[in-house]
Symmetry: C2
Subunit: 458 residues, 2 copies
């Protein structure tokens, strides 16, 4: 394409016709058979039929698929039009502020209606369930990012949405609840008296993500026309997020550059998977040198300090056991502001890639993360959500290393959401009240003793 190049170009935009038509299934690139999830009751491998009471069959097929690419339904691409393709932005003013020779690009997922990458999977999950005749989706939400994304997606496909919101968030974050209700969802404070699980935990009045999951799963299991939806960790969720990296590849081509390093934050793993997997496939196919860095909070260092083993996905041991890096399902992460990164495990597919040495991991304390986020906001305007502040710290460290080495390094990261509903965290940082919460090795060791009885995976 002969095109007049613009030396100050900041945003690389694709037309809607370039919304990806296929998701990238990285499972196809991994050697050998993937380790199956195991039944929490029997310890036996689970088949697709075991998941059918909770998930739409199309999603279960994606969860176990070995196909390298999976077609995106036209209805999902039409819904993506509301905010996709998202911009790829060159952080020229941050580069200047850092006086670095590095070129810093970021994919900005904060332009979605819910303000994060989560609708990328909420939309197809709602679509496939609606297509199968399901009338309602039940889910849990902590800080509210996932609950609001699913509320929005259900509204688009005429599904009801029932959200169990962790009690303490329900009380402290009424605005996230208002967002969900604006999109038509019903939001319950968890523990509620609507479920067995909720009633049995009535004494834990502040609630927990574990209890909220149990409530949503119970509601979904009880009714034939209600299913359950999860916002991260599972392979089909990571799959849906790959639209991020696919668009980024096309946009980097417009910019005439290719990243030396790809950076993202990791909680359950899906936003990182979204930007990284398409570029990882390209690296494997074309023998590129690209490095991949998954960044987690120092207070919840699953990939850097966890054990690779079968563990439950939830804290109460109701979900299937999955092979992953884990701090132990009993481990309660300190209340860091990046609520989306407080998870004892990580997506099994991502863990397998870390295990294979294809992805590096790094842990960052939250005060350093917020310091970098403020520097970013002053240069680029956008105020990041607490989760990607961790990625931004790692980006700035890369850019500083590039400067020290006089290296015109190309850095790509995923700015997975804005912080408009998380300004309390900035307030705490700016007033000097933000603390680095200690990771307790003691607690991890105790939690790891509770690992379920399952085959070793090393």
């Amino acid at each position: 394409m002969a095109k007049k190049s613009d030396p100050k170009q900041t945003k690389y935009l694709l037309p809607e016709s370039e919304i990806p038509t296929k998701w990238v299934n990285i499972a196809a690139d991994l050697p050998g058979e993937p380790l199956p999830p195991l039944s929490p009751q029997t310890g036996e491998p689970l088949g697709p039929e075991d998941l059918a009471p909770l998930f739409a069959m199309a999603l279960i097929e994606q969860e176990v698929s070995a196909e390298p690419e999976i077609e995106i339904p036209e209805e999902v691409r039409d819904a993506y039009r509301l905010w996709r393709p998202t911009p790829l932005i060159r952080a020229r003013r941050l580069e200047q502020a850092l006086d670095t020779p590095a070129h810093i690009y970021f994919k900005y997922e904060g332009v979605s209606p819910a303000g994060s990458h989560k609708p990328n999977t909420a939309v197809p999950q709602a679509f496939y369930n609606a297509q199968q005749g399901i009338k309602k989706l039940a889910t849990e939400t902590g800080a509210g990012q996932w609950g609001s994304s699913l509320s929005f997606a259900c509204q688009m496909f005429g599904l009801e949405c029932e959200v169990f919101m962790v009690g303490v968030s329900y009380d402290q974050k009424p605005y996230r609840r208002a967002m969900m209700e604006t999109w038509g969802a019903t939001v319950h404070r968890s523990p509620s008296d609507l479920t067995e699980a909720g009633r049995s935990q009535a004494e834990h009045s502040t609630g927990s993500l574990g209890i909220a999951i149990s409530e949503a799963v119970e509601v979904a299991a009880q009714s034939d026309d209600t299913n359950y939806a999860l916002g991260s960790v599972l392979s089909h969720v990571c799959l849906h997020q790959t639209v991020i990296g696919e668009e980024a590849i096309a946009q980097l081509e417009m910019a005439g550059e290719y990243p030396d390093v790809v950076i993202g934050c990791v909680g359950g793993g899906s936003n990182f998977a979204g930007i990284a997997f398409p570029l990882l496939r390209k690296k494997l196919k074309e023998g590129l040198d690209t490095r991949f860095v998954a960044v987690e909070p120092a207070a919840c260092p699953t990939l850097t300090q966890g054990t690779y083993a079968y563990d439950f996905g939830d804290t109460v041991g109701m979900t299937p056991m999955m092979p992953m890096y884990t701090l132990g399902h009993d481990f309660v992460p300190p209340p860091v502001h990046a609520g989306g990164l407080r998870y004892h495990g990580d997506a099994p597919i991502l863990c397998a890639l870390v295990k294979e040495g294809l992805i590096d991991a790094k842990a960052i304390p939250q005060t350093e993360a917020f310091e970098s986020a403020v520097q970013f906001a002053k240069a680029e305007g956008i105020i990041p959500a607490p989760e990607p502040t961790h990625a931004i710290r790692a980006v700035i460290e890369e850019a500083e290393a590039a400067k020290a080495e006089g290296d015109e390094r190309v850095i790509l990261f995923n700015l997975c959401g804005h912080g408009h509903l998380d300004l309390a965290a900035y307030q705490a940082f700016l007033s000097g009240e933000l603390e680095d919460l200690e990771f307790s090795e003691e607690d991890m060791k105790k939690a790891l003793e509770s690992l379920p009885d399952a085959p070793a995976v090393a």
Copy 2:
């Protein structure tokens, strides 16, 4: 351009090279000389030199310019690159929900870092002041939209920013304050003990916009290297906002359509001016039929029930007297959620156009506005700020009229900001606690008695 048309296209995007190079000065299209502002002390017409203690000379020249177009400095266009051109979006899902033959387009200004159209003028105001060697801008803010935009803009050009925030907002909206501080501003609760004006009003502990203006003006007047900045009402502010309408014209061309009606909400008038003035010039030049509708809250109906007269811009009578529709500067609008629309007057340039019959005005009660905003959010995803909910109500009424008349009407409106920091208003609406606050004709009549002694303008 031979281009494959996309029958489902939702977003019309322009490249950065299409960021406008000139602002549209509608003053050049009005017949006769504009009425001058008058001194609050002497009642005599004010010249540019009278405004020099508060404003940069380049801005004063724009305020009184009769040139039809004013060039946008390259540094301002470079700063605009962070979020401009903003998308023009076709609200196809809202059209479907309304089952209307109307085509509804909106310009979405919520993509700016501060989340509204305000940075369009904050950026050039900061630029011209920095260019003149000014070191600091002082301003007031109510709900925080303007204060956050100016904080961001000052950061971009290395200026300090001092914001006097109305006391009750300072207490109730800590998150807007966190936003301003993240961008490096100093925020004071007003009334403060930093100024004579503040100390004299110490008994009004909740503050008011009038007091905050007085504090900011005092700070700016006291120091040679500090100036004052205003976020609406003045002609140079309306001028800067015309990038919205200029981009819209180019984007409508991409869509192959031209609006029959252009709609925006009006508080001080600048977001409406921004979308309307370029299309109004086109109408006047080309003899088009386009209608223009300015929408205000029924609780503060300046254009529909006010008197056209000289009045002070502030409540305490310190600013110049301006010719405008006014409810009287003593009028205290009820505390509707659209804080940005609570103003006793309107931009003189806009009022002159309403007076000429070139722009229609309409008043909408806030419960109807929020009802329509929820309908919009369910269809389009975006949750609007409280101010443009009023425009959305008027848009839906137009679309319903189009349906009744079987008319394929093209509607364009300005969605001037998102509501992420205003979800309390949605919470109030959804819980049935939002009320339509009465406009008091009694209070207006009393306030109009306080109109300053000045020449009649009818």
